[in-house]
Symmetry: C2
Subunit: 337 residues, 2 copies
């Protein structure tokens, strides 16, 4: 395979190119065969690169593709789709569609990125809707949680498709015979809503999927499954409430460690450890989430991700390119659906 090329929506996210350009430059230094295409307002991007200390050889692997428009964080998907034909997000996806890049990474508006991805790249045969997945830390390692908000209403068939896609993605990322579970309010057969019960029936009947049944919210963090499947409403609430809880615990611990002189001494030692933990516990912010079920690779970096977060999203995109994830998914789906 030739050197991979990743298209970057350089204008997206809360910090835009001021964060994304340095993240890309340091990422290139770590990956000597990679090529990156920064899509966005060329003069600004040129300027940011000129002011960096990028080595001349790396500079040859960092391309700029001009796009005159930017999808705002509060644009509706329809605005991004119909009103901004020359947005950095759209052009980056078009590079993937046209085979000029193998993946797209964006920190921009999630809804717009999903709508544009579906429109430009199309879903794989057998997949009605792409899903968003990320790795969540657990007591024993991590688990892949999907969907994270792309689909607020899901039928049993959608949940079933998410389970298949999550299993294949987990395998591609190194899990052997990943344990797949449906998120539910109990582990007994009678628990749950109609969609979840029907999805369980579908998964029980599917061969080649290691379906272990229902899992509850605490079971996820106890590491009882490698792939946890739910609709996008539930997944989004779970992920964001976990972020909020982790932030609250951090804040309380900081307050605790500032409350007395001996506690302050403890805090000096403990705080760096706690900060590391907090970073781990904001998985979407830290790891990026990938869109599964498209005929192409799209990774969403968290809107508020810093340079390290954006690099994690680039790393995820590289792994998916290396593993040729859409092709693997396609092969498995032909078998199963």
């Amino acid at each position: 395979m030739s050197a991979p090329i990743i298209a970057i929506d350089a204008m997206g996210g809360d910090y835009g190119p001021h964060c994304i350009v340095p993240a890309c430059i340091s990422f290139l230094a770590e990956h000597p065969s990679l090529q990156l295409v920064l899509v966005g307002q060329a003069p600004l991007l040129e300027d940011l690169i000129a002011r960096s200390s990028i080595p001349a050889l790396d500079r040859q692997r960092l391309h700029i593709h001009h796009a005159s428009e930017v999808v705002a964080m509060d644009d509706r998907p329809s605005q991004a789709l119909r009103g901004k034909p020359d947005s950095s997000m759209r052009i980056a996806l078009e590079l993937v569609r046209d085979g000029k890049a193998q993946a797209c990474v964006s920190a921009g508006n999630t809804g717009a990125l999903m709508a544009l991805s579906r429109y430009l790249l199309k879903t794989l045969p057998g997949i009605d809707r792409p899903a968003m997945v990320t790795a969540v830390p657990t007591q024993t390692g991590s688990c892949h949680l999907l969907d994270l908000g792309a689909n607020v209403d899901c039928s049993a068939e959608h949940l079933y498709q998410f389970a298949i896609m999550g299993a294949v993605a987990a395998e591609a990322l190194g899990k052997v015979r990943p344990r797949v579970a449906l998120l539910n309010v109990g582990t007994e057969d009678i628990k749950g809503n109609q969609q979840v019960k029907l999805a369980a029936n579908l998964l029980q009947a599917a061969s080649g999927v290691n379906f272990i049944g229902y899992i509850e919210g605490d079971g996820l963090y106890r590491g009882l499954a490698d792939v946890v499947v739910c609709d996008g409403f539930v997944g989004n609430i779970l992920l964001k409430s976990s972020e909020g809880l982790a932030a609250m615990i951090s804040a309380r611990l900081e307050a605790l460690f500032a409350s007395s002189l001996p506690a302050r001494a403890v805090g000096l030692v403990a705080m760096p450890l706690l900060r590391r933990l907090r970073t781990e516990l904001t998985p979407a912010q830290h790891n990026g989430a990938s869109f599964l079920g498209l005929q192409g690779i799209v990774v969403k970096s968290h809107g508020s991700a810093g340079e390290e977060g954006f690099r994690s999203a680039l790393r995820r995109a590289m792994i998916e390119v290396r593993e040729n994830l859409p092709q693997r998914l396609h092969g498995r789906l032909e078998h199963l659906l």
Copy 2:
């Protein structure tokens, strides 16, 4: 008002009477005018009391009401309803129905307790389904989250009723003009599923409810609302995943503090603080959840609650008795629905 009487399902929960009887005895010592009725297998309860060091005067306020059957933690609601006419859970609820007690507290099977409560006590006029609510800690205090799993499928009208009930309960528990929010995957108008959007319309039109709009999972923990409303599927997943995450963070911190000699010294000071935090962060286990919308007071203690957790549930029941919560709810609902 005469001295309150609380009926206790003494056989429920993971630890049963061995935990519940001592919890009740110490609770009586703290509340000199309270009377408790332990419902369950009389010989066992007599024996446990005899082996305790309960003062003679307190003993006069601790009654025993025999019930020959026990609802198992894995009984289906229908089994509890039709197959066990003399269960401790049912008899405790009948005492409330018949005016012989003002509240019922149980650590038993949640689904069975809900089914029996609805059947025996009936819902308030205008309420289709009771909801389960508990206080969740936030960065600024706490918020009342409902529903927690009693209703996995909810219409907009149900969510609306939950919001009203949550607001009245929060007021009764001391919040002035509680801020009521609907849990959603975004705060913009276009976000969410159909039920949530319609419920928002209903709440915007309701007078006397301080509806502040949508809230996301992280906003809940940031303390942006006093009452957070969702369906029981989402609420259950949120609560249990939060419990799981808090447990995971505790475990990681313990491991962190055991990892080196200086860290161990830190841990000696930090661990008691962390344990306190963990207790706070398992709200259902710690606080008990109450059923709202019934013609009577029912508080569910967590199945795995220890003595302190069970006392918290008793405390909640006492407050609801003092505030005459079902009556307050009834008055407000007559106005609003």
